[in-house]
Protein backbone atom coordinates (compact mmCIF):
# COMPACT_ATOMS: atom_id res chain seq x y z
CA UNK A 1 0.00 0.00 0.00
CA UNK A 2 1.96 3.02 1.21
CA UNK A 3 5.27 1.27 1.84
CA UNK A 4 7.63 1.23 -1.10
CA UNK A 5 8.85 -2.16 -2.27
CA UNK A 6 11.79 -2.10 -4.65
CA UNK A 7 10.82 -5.49 -6.08
CA UNK A 8 7.38 -4.22 -7.06
CA UNK A 9 8.94 -1.10 -8.54
CA UNK A 10 11.25 -3.16 -10.71
CA UNK A 11 8.47 -5.45 -11.91
CA UNK A 12 6.18 -2.48 -12.61
CA UNK A 13 8.86 -0.57 -14.48
CA UNK A 14 9.79 -3.53 -16.67
CA UNK A 15 6.18 -4.55 -17.37
CA UNK A 16 4.96 -1.00 -17.90
CA UNK A 17 7.75 -0.02 -20.28
CA UNK A 18 7.42 -3.22 -22.32
CA UNK A 19 3.65 -2.86 -22.56
CA UNK A 20 4.00 0.82 -23.37
CA UNK A 21 6.25 -0.07 -26.29
CA UNK A 22 4.13 -2.98 -27.51
CA UNK A 23 0.92 -0.96 -27.32
CA UNK A 24 2.51 2.04 -29.00
CA UNK A 25 3.79 0.01 -31.93
CA UNK A 26 1.05 -2.61 -32.28
CA UNK A 27 -2.09 -0.97 -30.95
CA UNK A 28 -2.16 2.80 -30.68
CA UNK A 29 -0.37 3.50 -33.94
CA UNK A 30 -2.76 1.48 -36.14
CA UNK A 31 -5.77 2.55 -34.07
CA UNK A 32 -5.00 6.25 -34.21
CA UNK A 33 -4.05 5.99 -37.87
CA UNK A 34 -7.25 4.09 -38.63
CA UNK A 35 -9.30 6.69 -36.80
CA UNK A 36 -7.57 9.50 -38.62
CA UNK A 37 -8.00 7.83 -42.00
CA UNK A 38 -11.67 7.20 -41.35
CA UNK A 39 -12.22 10.76 -40.20
CA UNK A 40 -10.41 12.05 -43.26
CA UNK A 41 -12.40 9.81 -45.60
CA UNK A 42 -15.65 10.92 -44.00
CA UNK A 43 -14.61 14.55 -44.24
CA UNK A 44 -13.55 13.94 -47.86
CA UNK A 45 -16.86 12.29 -48.68
CA UNK A 46 -18.75 15.19 -47.15
CA UNK A 47 -16.62 17.65 -49.08
CA UNK A 48 -17.22 15.75 -52.33
CA UNK A 49 -20.95 15.67 -51.66
CA UNK A 50 -20.90 19.40 -51.03
CA UNK A 51 -18.95 19.95 -54.23
CA UNK A 52 -21.37 17.73 -56.19
CA UNK A 53 -24.23 19.71 -54.73
CA UNK A 54 -22.62 22.95 -55.80
CA UNK A 55 -21.93 21.53 -59.25
CA UNK A 56 -25.52 20.43 -59.53
CA UNK A 57 -26.67 23.88 -58.54
CA UNK A 58 -24.34 25.44 -61.09
CA UNK A 59 -25.58 23.02 -63.75
CA UNK A 60 -29.15 23.82 -62.90
CA UNK A 61 -28.41 27.51 -63.09
CA UNK A 62 -26.74 27.15 -66.49
CA UNK A 63 -29.65 25.03 -67.70
CA UNK A 64 -32.02 27.68 -66.54
CA UNK A 65 -29.99 30.30 -68.35
CA UNK A 66 -29.91 28.22 -71.49
CA UNK A 67 -33.64 27.74 -71.30
CA UNK A 68 -34.33 31.43 -70.85
CA UNK A 69 -31.99 32.16 -73.71
CA UNK A 70 -33.78 29.63 -75.91
CA UNK A 71 -37.10 31.02 -74.87
CA UNK A 72 -35.97 34.55 -75.67
CA UNK A 73 -34.64 33.38 -79.00
CA UNK A 74 -37.89 31.68 -79.80
CA UNK A 75 -39.74 34.85 -78.85
CA UNK A 76 -37.56 36.99 -81.04
CA UNK A 77 -37.93 34.51 -83.87
CA UNK A 78 -41.68 34.53 -83.51
CA UNK A 79 -41.70 38.28 -83.36
CA UNK A 80 -39.53 38.51 -86.43
CA UNK A 81 -41.74 36.10 -88.28
CA UNK A 82 -44.77 38.05 -87.31
CA UNK A 83 -43.15 41.22 -88.46
CA UNK A 84 -42.10 39.63 -91.72
CA UNK A 85 -45.61 38.37 -92.22
CA UNK A 86 -47.03 41.78 -91.51
CA UNK A 87 -44.53 43.36 -93.82
CA UNK A 88 -45.31 40.88 -96.55
CA UNK A 89 -49.00 41.37 -96.08
CA UNK A 90 -48.58 45.11 -96.03
CA UNK A 91 -46.45 45.01 -99.13
CA UNK A 92 -48.85 42.73 -100.83
CA UNK A 93 -51.68 44.98 -99.85
CA UNK A 94 -49.98 48.06 -101.13
CA UNK A 95 -48.97 46.28 -104.30
CA UNK A 96 -52.46 45.05 -104.79
CA UNK A 97 -53.82 48.45 -104.19
CA UNK A 98 -51.38 49.96 -106.60
CA UNK A 99 -52.21 47.38 -109.21
CA UNK A 100 -55.88 47.84 -108.52
CA UNK A 101 -55.58 51.55 -108.76
CA UNK A 102 -53.67 51.18 -111.91
CA UNK A 103 -56.24 48.86 -113.32
CA UNK A 104 -59.01 51.15 -112.20
CA UNK A 105 -57.24 54.06 -113.77
CA UNK A 106 -56.76 52.13 -116.97
CA UNK A 107 -60.32 51.03 -116.87
CA UNK A 108 -61.43 54.56 -116.31
CA UNK A 109 -59.31 55.67 -119.21
CA UNK A 110 -60.69 53.00 -121.42
CA UNK A 111 -64.17 53.79 -120.29
CA UNK A 112 -63.54 57.39 -120.97
CA UNK A 113 -62.20 56.65 -124.44
CA UNK A 114 -64.99 54.24 -125.12
CA UNK A 115 -67.38 56.88 -123.93
CA UNK A 116 -65.86 59.48 -126.18
CA UNK A 117 -65.93 57.03 -129.05
CA UNK A 118 -69.47 56.10 -128.18
CA UNK A 119 -70.42 59.74 -127.97
CA UNK A 120 -68.82 60.45 -131.28
CA UNK A 121 -70.67 57.52 -132.79
CA UNK A 122 -73.82 58.71 -131.14
CA UNK A 123 -73.23 62.17 -132.37
CA UNK A 124 -72.68 60.84 -135.85
CA UNK A 125 -75.78 58.72 -135.60
CA UNK A 126 -77.77 61.56 -134.17
CA UNK A 127 -76.52 63.84 -136.93
CA UNK A 128 -77.36 61.30 -139.57
CA UNK A 129 -80.70 60.64 -138.03
CA UNK A 130 -81.36 64.34 -137.70
CA UNK A 131 -80.50 64.93 -141.34
CA UNK A 132 -82.70 62.03 -142.32
CA UNK A 133 -85.48 63.36 -140.12
CA UNK A 134 -84.94 66.79 -141.44
CA UNK A 135 -84.92 65.51 -145.01
CA UNK A 136 -88.11 63.67 -144.41
CA UNK A 137 -89.72 66.68 -142.78
CA UNK A 138 -88.52 68.99 -145.50
CA UNK A 139 -89.64 66.60 -148.12
CA UNK A 140 -93.04 66.47 -146.63
CA UNK A 141 -93.37 70.19 -146.13
CA UNK A 142 -92.24 71.04 -149.50
CA UNK A 143 -94.49 68.65 -151.24
CA UNK A 144 -97.17 71.32 -151.77
CA UNK A 145 -96.78 74.57 -153.62
CA UNK A 146 -98.49 76.67 -151.13
CA UNK A 147 -96.13 75.50 -148.43
CA UNK A 148 -93.18 76.22 -150.58
CA UNK A 149 -94.38 79.67 -151.16
CA UNK A 150 -95.08 80.21 -147.51
CA UNK A 151 -91.60 79.11 -146.68
CA UNK A 152 -90.11 81.30 -149.19
CA UNK A 153 -92.16 84.07 -147.87
CA UNK A 154 -91.13 83.43 -144.35
CA UNK A 155 -87.59 83.31 -145.29
CA UNK A 156 -87.86 86.49 -147.24
CA UNK A 157 -89.52 88.09 -144.34
CA UNK A 158 -86.91 87.10 -141.99
CA UNK A 159 -84.18 88.19 -144.29
CA UNK A 160 -85.84 91.53 -144.81
CA UNK A 161 -86.23 92.05 -141.18
CA UNK A 162 -82.63 91.59 -140.65
Amino acid sequence: MLNISLGTIIWTTVAFLIVLLILKKMAWKPILEGLKKREESIAGALRTAEEAKEEMAALKASNEELLTKARAERDTMLKEAREAKDAIIAEAKSNAKLEGDKMVAQAKETIKMEKVAAMNELKKQVAALSIEVAEKIVKEKLSEDSKQKELVNNLIEEVTLN
Binding site: W11, A27, W28
Partner: protein
Amino acid sequence: MANKINLLGSVLSKTTLVAATAVFVFNFFGAHAQHGDEVVGHDDHNTAHHGEGEESHEGFKPGEFIMHHVADGHQMEWANFQIPLPVMLWTDDGFTCFSSSNFYKEENEAHVHGMEGHAFTMGNEYIMVNEVIYYLEKNGGIHGIEEKVKLAEEADLLLKDIVNLEKKKVEASSIEEQAIIAEEIAAVTKKEQELREAAGLAAPFDLSITKNVWGLLFVMVLMVFIFVRIAKRYKNREGQAPKGIQNLFEPLILFVRDDIALPSIGPAKAEKFTPFLLSVFFFIWFANLLGLIPFLVGFNIAGTMSITLVLAVVVFIITTINGNKNYWSHMLAVPGVPKWVLVLLTPIEILQMFIKPTVLMIRLTANITAGHIIILAFVSLIFLFGGNSEGAYWGVGVGSTVFMIFMYLIEFLVAFLQAYVFTLLAAIYFGAAVEEAHH
Protein backbone atom coordinates in the same frame (compact mmCIF):
# COMPACT_ATOMS: atom_id res chain seq x y z
CA MET B 1 -18.85 14.87 -26.15
CA ALA B 2 -22.05 15.00 -24.15
CA ASN B 3 -23.31 12.04 -26.12
CA LYS B 4 -20.23 10.05 -25.46
CA ILE B 5 -20.43 10.59 -21.66
CA ASN B 6 -24.14 9.79 -21.66
CA LEU B 7 -23.52 6.53 -23.48
CA LEU B 8 -20.70 5.65 -21.20
CA GLY B 9 -22.73 6.59 -18.15
CA SER B 10 -25.69 4.48 -19.15
CA VAL B 11 -23.55 1.44 -19.98
CA LEU B 12 -21.59 1.80 -16.78
CA SER B 13 -24.57 2.34 -14.54
CA LYS B 14 -26.51 -0.62 -15.92
CA THR B 15 -23.68 -3.09 -15.72
CA THR B 16 -22.60 -1.74 -12.36
CA LEU B 17 -26.02 -2.08 -10.84
CA VAL B 18 -26.43 -5.65 -11.99
CA ALA B 19 -22.89 -6.65 -11.08
CA ALA B 20 -22.84 -4.88 -7.75
CA THR B 21 -26.16 -6.24 -6.55
CA ALA B 22 -25.41 -9.79 -7.63
CA VAL B 23 -21.96 -9.66 -6.16
CA PHE B 24 -23.05 -8.24 -2.85
CA VAL B 25 -25.63 -10.85 -2.23
CA PHE B 26 -22.76 -13.32 -2.56
CA ASN B 27 -20.41 -11.16 -0.58
CA PHE B 28 -22.78 -10.96 2.34
CA PHE B 29 -23.52 -14.66 2.54
CA GLY B 30 -19.92 -15.51 1.73
CA ALA B 31 -18.75 -13.31 4.57
CA HIS B 32 -21.25 -14.97 6.86
CA ALA B 33 -19.91 -18.42 6.06
CA GLN B 34 -16.31 -17.30 6.47
CA HIS B 35 -17.04 -15.71 9.79
CA GLY B 36 -18.82 -18.81 11.02
CA ASP B 37 -15.78 -20.91 10.13
CA GLU B 38 -13.53 -18.58 11.99
CA VAL B 39 -15.67 -18.78 15.09
CA VAL B 40 -15.65 -22.58 14.99
CA GLY B 41 -11.90 -22.72 14.39
CA HIS B 42 -11.36 -20.25 17.17
CA ASP B 43 -13.30 -22.43 19.62
CA ASP B 44 -11.16 -25.43 18.66
CA HIS B 45 -8.09 -23.38 19.22
CA ASN B 46 -9.18 -22.27 22.64
CA THR B 47 -9.88 -25.78 23.86
CA ALA B 48 -6.65 -27.12 22.41
CA HIS B 49 -4.13 -24.45 23.38
CA HIS B 50 -5.79 -22.74 26.23
CA GLY B 51 -3.64 -20.30 28.15
CA GLU B 52 -0.81 -20.19 25.61
CA GLY B 53 -0.91 -16.42 25.28
CA GLU B 54 -2.96 -16.33 22.08
CA GLU B 55 -4.54 -12.96 22.94
CA SER B 56 -3.96 -11.74 19.41
CA HIS B 57 -6.67 -14.14 18.17
CA GLU B 58 -9.13 -12.90 20.73
CA GLY B 59 -11.98 -11.05 19.04
CA PHE B 60 -12.12 -9.39 15.63
CA LYS B 61 -9.61 -6.64 14.89
CA PRO B 62 -10.99 -4.43 12.10
CA GLY B 63 -7.75 -2.48 11.63
CA GLU B 64 -5.71 -5.61 11.07
CA PHE B 65 -8.41 -7.13 8.88
CA ILE B 66 -8.61 -4.06 6.64
CA MET B 67 -4.87 -3.51 6.37
CA HIS B 68 -4.34 -7.17 5.59
CA HIS B 69 -6.76 -6.93 2.65
CA VAL B 70 -5.49 -3.61 1.37
CA ALA B 71 -1.78 -4.44 1.65
CA ASP B 72 0.21 -6.40 -0.87
CA GLY B 73 0.87 -10.07 -0.15
CA HIS B 74 2.83 -13.07 -1.29
CA GLN B 75 -0.26 -15.16 -1.94
CA MET B 76 -3.70 -14.69 -3.43
CA GLU B 77 -6.64 -15.40 -1.16
CA TRP B 78 -10.03 -16.37 -2.48
CA ALA B 79 -12.38 -16.81 0.46
CA ASN B 80 -10.80 -19.83 2.19
CA PHE B 81 -8.57 -20.82 -0.72
CA GLN B 82 -5.01 -19.65 -0.96
CA ILE B 83 -3.20 -19.50 -4.24
CA PRO B 84 0.56 -19.44 -3.60
CA LEU B 85 2.74 -17.13 -5.66
CA PRO B 86 6.42 -17.42 -6.51
CA VAL B 87 8.78 -15.88 -3.98
CA MET B 88 11.93 -14.65 -5.67
CA LEU B 89 14.78 -13.56 -3.48
CA TRP B 90 18.16 -12.13 -4.30
CA THR B 91 20.03 -13.41 -1.26
CA ASP B 92 23.64 -13.13 -0.16
CA ASP B 93 24.15 -16.55 -1.74
CA GLY B 94 22.53 -15.68 -5.06
CA PHE B 95 19.09 -15.99 -6.54
CA THR B 96 16.45 -18.36 -5.14
CA CYS B 97 12.85 -18.96 -6.07
CA PHE B 98 10.25 -21.00 -4.23
CA SER B 99 6.53 -21.11 -3.61
CA SER B 100 5.06 -18.81 -1.01
CA SER B 101 3.13 -21.79 0.40
CA ASN B 102 6.38 -22.58 2.22
CA PHE B 103 5.61 -19.60 4.45
CA TYR B 104 1.86 -19.77 4.84
CA LYS B 105 1.57 -22.85 7.01
CA GLU B 106 -0.01 -23.07 10.40
CA GLU B 107 3.09 -24.64 11.95
CA ASN B 108 5.17 -21.75 10.59
CA GLU B 109 3.20 -19.06 12.36
CA ALA B 110 5.40 -17.09 14.72
CA HIS B 111 5.13 -14.06 16.88
CA VAL B 112 7.77 -11.37 17.17
CA HIS B 113 7.39 -9.14 20.21
CA GLY B 114 7.42 -5.50 19.21
CA MET B 115 6.33 -6.22 15.62
CA GLU B 116 2.60 -6.22 15.09
CA GLY B 117 0.90 -8.47 12.62
CA HIS B 118 1.32 -11.90 11.10
CA ALA B 119 4.70 -13.56 11.03
CA PHE B 120 5.69 -16.78 9.30
CA THR B 121 9.02 -18.55 9.38
CA MET B 122 10.47 -20.74 6.70
CA GLY B 123 12.85 -23.22 8.16
CA ASN B 124 15.74 -21.44 9.82
CA GLU B 125 16.41 -19.27 6.84
CA TYR B 126 13.66 -16.66 6.47
CA ILE B 127 10.97 -14.98 8.47
CA MET B 128 8.18 -12.93 6.92
CA VAL B 129 6.62 -10.25 9.11
CA ASN B 130 3.73 -8.34 7.55
CA GLU B 131 4.74 -9.61 4.09
CA VAL B 132 8.30 -8.30 4.47
CA ILE B 133 10.90 -11.08 4.28
CA TYR B 134 13.96 -11.02 6.60
CA TYR B 135 16.75 -13.50 7.22
CA LEU B 136 16.00 -15.53 10.32
CA GLU B 137 19.23 -17.22 11.28
CA LYS B 138 21.44 -14.35 10.15
CA ASN B 139 19.48 -12.04 12.46
CA GLY B 140 19.92 -14.44 15.36
CA GLY B 141 16.58 -16.17 15.19
CA ILE B 142 13.32 -14.75 16.50
CA HIS B 143 15.05 -13.83 19.72
CA GLY B 144 17.74 -11.92 17.83
CA ILE B 145 15.12 -10.05 15.85
CA GLU B 146 13.28 -9.11 19.03
CA GLU B 147 16.56 -7.80 20.46
CA LYS B 148 17.08 -5.71 17.36
CA VAL B 149 13.54 -4.35 17.58
CA LYS B 150 14.32 -3.35 21.15
CA LEU B 151 17.49 -1.61 19.99
CA ALA B 152 15.46 0.26 17.37
CA GLU B 153 13.05 1.36 20.09
CA GLU B 154 15.99 2.58 22.16
CA ALA B 155 17.26 4.48 19.14
CA ASP B 156 13.83 6.10 18.81
CA LEU B 157 14.04 7.20 22.45
CA LEU B 158 17.50 8.69 21.83
CA LEU B 159 16.03 10.57 18.87
CA LYS B 160 13.56 12.16 21.27
CA ASP B 161 16.47 13.08 23.58
CA ILE B 162 18.26 14.71 20.68
CA VAL B 163 15.20 16.82 19.92
CA ASN B 164 15.00 17.89 23.59
CA LEU B 165 18.72 18.75 23.64
CA GLU B 166 18.35 20.83 20.49
CA LYS B 167 15.61 22.80 22.22
CA LYS B 168 17.86 23.29 25.25
CA LYS B 169 20.69 24.45 23.03
CA VAL B 170 18.53 27.17 21.52
CA GLU B 171 17.42 28.29 24.98
CA ALA B 172 20.97 28.16 26.42
CA SER B 173 22.15 31.48 27.87
CA SER B 174 25.91 31.38 27.26
CA ILE B 175 28.14 30.20 24.46
CA GLU B 176 29.99 27.79 26.77
CA GLU B 177 26.74 26.15 27.76
CA GLN B 178 25.78 25.84 24.11
CA ALA B 179 29.10 24.18 23.32
CA ILE B 180 28.58 21.65 26.13
CA ILE B 181 25.11 20.82 24.88
CA ALA B 182 26.41 20.52 21.32
CA GLU B 183 29.00 17.98 22.50
CA GLU B 184 26.24 16.09 24.28
CA ILE B 185 24.13 16.10 21.10
CA ALA B 186 27.04 14.76 19.07
CA ALA B 187 27.60 11.97 21.60
CA VAL B 188 23.92 10.98 21.66
CA THR B 189 23.69 11.14 17.87
CA LYS B 190 26.68 8.83 17.57
CA LYS B 191 25.12 6.40 20.00
CA GLU B 192 21.81 6.57 18.13
CA GLN B 193 23.52 5.82 14.83
CA GLU B 194 25.35 2.86 16.37
CA LEU B 195 22.10 1.54 17.73
CA ARG B 196 20.41 1.97 14.36
CA GLU B 197 23.16 0.07 12.64
CA ALA B 198 22.90 -2.72 15.18
CA ALA B 199 19.11 -2.72 14.89
CA GLY B 200 19.16 -3.05 11.09
CA LEU B 201 17.48 -6.31 10.11
CA ALA B 202 19.33 -8.19 7.40
CA ALA B 203 16.97 -8.91 4.56
CA PRO B 204 17.26 -10.45 1.10
CA PHE B 205 16.19 -8.35 -1.87
CA ASP B 206 12.57 -9.35 -2.48
CA LEU B 207 11.77 -9.65 -6.19
CA SER B 208 8.65 -11.76 -5.64
CA ILE B 209 5.63 -11.80 -7.88
CA THR B 210 3.31 -10.50 -5.19
CA LYS B 211 -0.46 -10.29 -5.41
CA ASN B 212 -0.42 -6.82 -6.91
CA VAL B 213 2.47 -7.56 -9.26
CA TRP B 214 0.48 -10.53 -10.48
CA GLY B 215 -2.57 -8.29 -10.95
CA LEU B 216 -0.42 -5.73 -12.75
CA LEU B 217 0.94 -8.34 -15.14
CA PHE B 218 -2.60 -9.60 -15.71
CA VAL B 219 -3.82 -6.09 -16.58
CA MET B 220 -0.85 -5.60 -18.89
CA VAL B 221 -1.54 -8.84 -20.76
CA LEU B 222 -5.24 -8.01 -20.92
CA MET B 223 -4.47 -4.58 -22.36
CA VAL B 224 -2.15 -5.97 -25.03
CA PHE B 225 -4.72 -8.64 -25.90
CA ILE B 226 -7.65 -6.22 -26.18
CA PHE B 227 -5.95 -3.35 -27.95
CA VAL B 228 -3.95 -5.42 -30.41
CA ARG B 229 -7.22 -7.07 -31.36
CA ILE B 230 -8.87 -3.69 -31.78
CA ALA B 231 -5.92 -2.49 -33.84
CA LYS B 232 -6.44 -5.46 -36.19
CA ARG B 233 -10.06 -4.41 -36.61
CA TYR B 234 -8.92 -0.95 -37.63
CA LYS B 235 -6.53 -2.43 -40.19
CA ASN B 236 -9.03 -4.91 -41.63
CA ARG B 237 -12.01 -2.60 -41.66
CA GLU B 238 -10.32 0.54 -42.83
CA GLY B 239 -12.69 3.46 -43.23
CA GLN B 240 -15.67 1.41 -42.08
CA ALA B 241 -17.86 1.94 -39.06
CA PRO B 242 -16.55 0.40 -35.80
CA LYS B 243 -17.88 -3.00 -34.75
CA GLY B 244 -17.96 -5.10 -31.60
CA ILE B 245 -15.13 -4.58 -29.13
CA GLN B 246 -13.79 -1.82 -31.36
CA ASN B 247 -17.09 -0.02 -30.97
CA LEU B 248 -16.94 -0.44 -27.19
CA PHE B 249 -13.55 1.21 -26.81
CA GLU B 250 -13.64 3.74 -29.62
CA PRO B 251 -15.59 6.36 -27.62
CA LEU B 252 -13.02 6.06 -24.83
CA ILE B 253 -10.06 6.26 -27.19
CA LEU B 254 -11.65 9.32 -28.80
CA PHE B 255 -12.35 10.71 -25.33
CA VAL B 256 -8.67 10.49 -24.38
CA ARG B 257 -7.52 11.83 -27.72
CA ASP B 258 -10.04 14.65 -28.23
CA ASP B 259 -10.96 15.65 -24.68
CA ILE B 260 -7.74 15.01 -22.77
CA ALA B 261 -4.72 15.15 -25.08
CA LEU B 262 -5.88 17.69 -27.65
CA PRO B 263 -7.10 20.52 -25.39
CA SER B 264 -4.27 20.10 -22.85
CA ILE B 265 -1.32 19.79 -25.20
CA GLY B 266 -2.52 21.53 -28.33
CA PRO B 267 -2.98 20.13 -31.83
CA ALA B 268 0.66 20.47 -32.85
CA LYS B 269 2.21 18.22 -30.18
CA ALA B 270 -0.76 16.15 -28.95
CA GLU B 271 -0.11 13.28 -31.34
CA LYS B 272 3.26 12.56 -29.79
CA PHE B 273 1.88 12.03 -26.29
CA THR B 274 -1.47 10.39 -27.10
CA PRO B 275 -0.15 6.77 -27.08
CA PHE B 276 1.31 7.19 -23.59
CA LEU B 277 -1.83 8.89 -22.28
CA LEU B 278 -4.03 6.14 -23.74
CA SER B 279 -1.86 3.45 -22.14
CA VAL B 280 -1.89 5.14 -18.73
CA PHE B 281 -5.62 5.81 -18.86
CA PHE B 282 -6.60 2.26 -19.72
CA PHE B 283 -4.03 0.77 -17.34
CA ILE B 284 -5.38 2.70 -14.36
CA TRP B 285 -8.99 2.11 -15.31
CA PHE B 286 -8.57 -1.62 -15.88
CA ALA B 287 -6.51 -1.98 -12.70
CA ASN B 288 -9.20 -0.17 -10.70
CA LEU B 289 -11.99 -2.28 -12.17
CA LEU B 290 -10.03 -5.45 -11.45
CA GLY B 291 -9.65 -4.31 -7.85
CA LEU B 292 -13.41 -3.84 -7.60
CA ILE B 293 -14.25 -7.47 -8.33
CA PRO B 294 -15.08 -8.77 -4.86
CA PHE B 295 -13.45 -11.97 -3.64
CA LEU B 296 -11.05 -11.89 -6.56
CA VAL B 297 -8.14 -11.80 -4.12
CA GLY B 298 -8.60 -8.05 -3.51
CA PHE B 299 -6.22 -6.51 -5.98
CA ASN B 300 -5.18 -3.02 -5.01
CA ILE B 301 -2.99 -2.22 -7.98
CA ALA B 302 -3.41 1.51 -8.43
CA GLY B 303 -3.55 1.78 -4.64
CA THR B 304 -0.01 0.46 -4.31
CA MET B 305 2.51 3.24 -3.92
CA SER B 306 5.30 1.27 -5.61
CA ILE B 307 3.20 1.02 -8.78
CA THR B 308 1.87 4.57 -8.86
CA LEU B 309 5.41 5.75 -8.14
CA VAL B 310 6.56 4.23 -11.42
CA LEU B 311 3.71 5.92 -13.28
CA ALA B 312 4.55 9.26 -11.68
CA VAL B 313 8.26 8.88 -12.43
CA VAL B 314 7.51 8.11 -16.08
CA VAL B 315 5.31 11.21 -16.25
CA PHE B 316 8.10 13.23 -14.64
CA ILE B 317 10.73 11.90 -17.07
CA ILE B 318 8.56 12.56 -20.14
CA THR B 319 7.77 16.08 -18.91
CA THR B 320 11.43 16.85 -18.18
CA ILE B 321 12.77 15.39 -21.43
CA ASN B 322 10.24 17.27 -23.52
CA GLY B 323 10.55 20.56 -21.66
CA ASN B 324 11.41 23.26 -24.19
CA LYS B 325 13.23 26.56 -23.74
CA ASN B 326 10.04 28.30 -22.70
CA TYR B 327 9.33 25.69 -20.01
CA TRP B 328 12.79 25.93 -18.47
CA SER B 329 12.88 29.71 -18.63
CA HIS B 330 9.59 29.82 -16.73
CA MET B 331 10.96 27.33 -14.26
CA LEU B 332 14.30 28.97 -13.56
CA ALA B 333 13.40 32.63 -13.98
CA VAL B 334 9.82 33.63 -14.64
CA PRO B 335 10.05 36.42 -17.20
CA GLY B 336 8.79 39.84 -16.14
CA VAL B 337 9.22 39.25 -12.42
CA PRO B 338 11.55 41.39 -10.26
CA LYS B 339 14.83 39.75 -9.23
CA TRP B 340 14.12 39.77 -5.50
CA VAL B 341 10.85 37.87 -6.08
CA LEU B 342 12.73 35.33 -8.19
CA VAL B 343 14.81 34.43 -5.15
CA LEU B 344 11.59 33.13 -3.63
CA LEU B 345 9.87 32.00 -6.77
CA THR B 346 12.55 29.91 -8.45
CA PRO B 347 13.00 27.42 -5.60
CA ILE B 348 9.23 27.06 -5.43
CA GLU B 349 9.03 26.45 -9.18
CA ILE B 350 11.79 23.86 -9.03
CA LEU B 351 10.16 22.16 -6.07
CA GLN B 352 6.90 22.20 -7.96
CA MET B 353 8.49 20.20 -10.76
CA PHE B 354 8.86 17.33 -8.27
CA ILE B 355 5.71 18.01 -6.28
CA LYS B 356 3.45 17.73 -9.31
CA PRO B 357 4.17 14.05 -10.08
CA THR B 358 4.35 13.27 -6.36
CA VAL B 359 0.85 14.63 -5.88
CA LEU B 360 -0.26 12.63 -8.89
CA MET B 361 1.09 9.49 -7.24
CA ILE B 362 -0.38 10.17 -3.81
CA ARG B 363 -3.78 11.16 -5.14
CA LEU B 364 -4.21 7.97 -7.11
CA THR B 365 -2.91 5.69 -4.35
CA ALA B 366 -4.98 7.37 -1.65
CA ASN B 367 -8.21 7.44 -3.64
CA ILE B 368 -8.11 3.80 -4.61
CA THR B 369 -6.94 2.58 -1.20
CA ALA B 370 -9.53 4.75 0.56
CA GLY B 371 -12.31 3.20 -1.50
CA HIS B 372 -11.17 -0.27 -0.55
CA ILE B 373 -10.83 0.72 3.11
CA ILE B 374 -14.37 2.12 3.29
CA ILE B 375 -15.90 -1.01 1.79
CA LEU B 376 -13.84 -3.23 4.10
CA ALA B 377 -14.87 -1.06 7.04
CA PHE B 378 -18.51 -1.84 6.29
CA VAL B 379 -17.65 -5.53 6.18
CA SER B 380 -15.89 -5.14 9.54
CA LEU B 381 -19.00 -3.54 11.01
CA ILE B 382 -20.91 -6.75 10.38
CA PHE B 383 -18.29 -8.78 12.25
CA LEU B 384 -18.00 -6.30 15.10
CA PHE B 385 -21.72 -6.14 15.84
CA GLY B 386 -22.46 -9.66 14.68
CA GLY B 387 -20.36 -11.05 17.53
CA ASN B 388 -22.92 -9.83 20.06
CA SER B 389 -26.20 -11.26 18.83
CA GLU B 390 -27.89 -12.82 15.85
CA GLY B 391 -30.29 -9.82 15.55
CA ALA B 392 -27.47 -7.31 15.46
CA TYR B 393 -25.66 -9.48 12.93
CA TRP B 394 -28.56 -9.39 10.49
CA GLY B 395 -29.54 -5.78 11.21
CA VAL B 396 -26.07 -4.36 10.77
CA GLY B 397 -25.44 -6.81 7.95
CA VAL B 398 -28.33 -5.54 5.85
CA GLY B 399 -27.51 -1.90 6.63
CA SER B 400 -23.83 -2.39 5.81
CA THR B 401 -24.66 -4.19 2.60
CA VAL B 402 -26.88 -1.33 1.44
CA PHE B 403 -24.07 1.13 2.17
CA MET B 404 -21.56 -1.14 0.47
CA ILE B 405 -23.68 -1.20 -2.68
CA PHE B 406 -23.79 2.58 -2.59
CA MET B 407 -20.01 2.76 -2.04
CA TYR B 408 -19.43 0.28 -4.83
CA LEU B 409 -21.35 2.44 -7.27
CA ILE B 410 -19.24 5.40 -6.21
CA GLU B 411 -16.11 3.28 -6.53
CA PHE B 412 -17.02 2.48 -10.13
CA LEU B 413 -17.20 6.20 -10.77
CA VAL B 414 -13.93 6.76 -8.89
CA ALA B 415 -12.24 4.00 -10.88
CA PHE B 416 -12.98 5.94 -14.06
CA LEU B 417 -12.52 9.37 -12.53
CA GLN B 418 -9.05 8.68 -11.13
CA ALA B 419 -7.91 7.25 -14.46
CA TYR B 420 -9.28 10.41 -16.09
CA VAL B 421 -7.73 12.76 -13.54
CA PHE B 422 -4.30 11.13 -13.69
CA THR B 423 -4.31 11.19 -17.49
CA LEU B 424 -5.63 14.74 -17.67
CA LEU B 425 -3.03 16.10 -15.24
CA ALA B 426 -0.24 14.21 -17.00
CA ALA B 427 -1.46 15.74 -20.28
CA ILE B 428 -1.53 19.21 -18.72
CA TYR B 429 2.06 18.77 -17.47
CA PHE B 430 3.15 17.65 -20.94
CA GLY B 431 1.26 20.59 -22.40
CA ALA B 432 3.11 22.99 -20.10
CA ALA B 433 6.43 21.40 -21.07
CA VAL B 434 5.94 21.85 -24.82
CA GLU B 435 4.00 25.12 -24.78
CA GLU B 436 5.55 27.78 -26.98
CA ALA B 437 6.13 31.29 -25.66
CA HIS B 438 3.27 33.60 -26.46
CA HIS B 439 4.52 36.97 -25.42
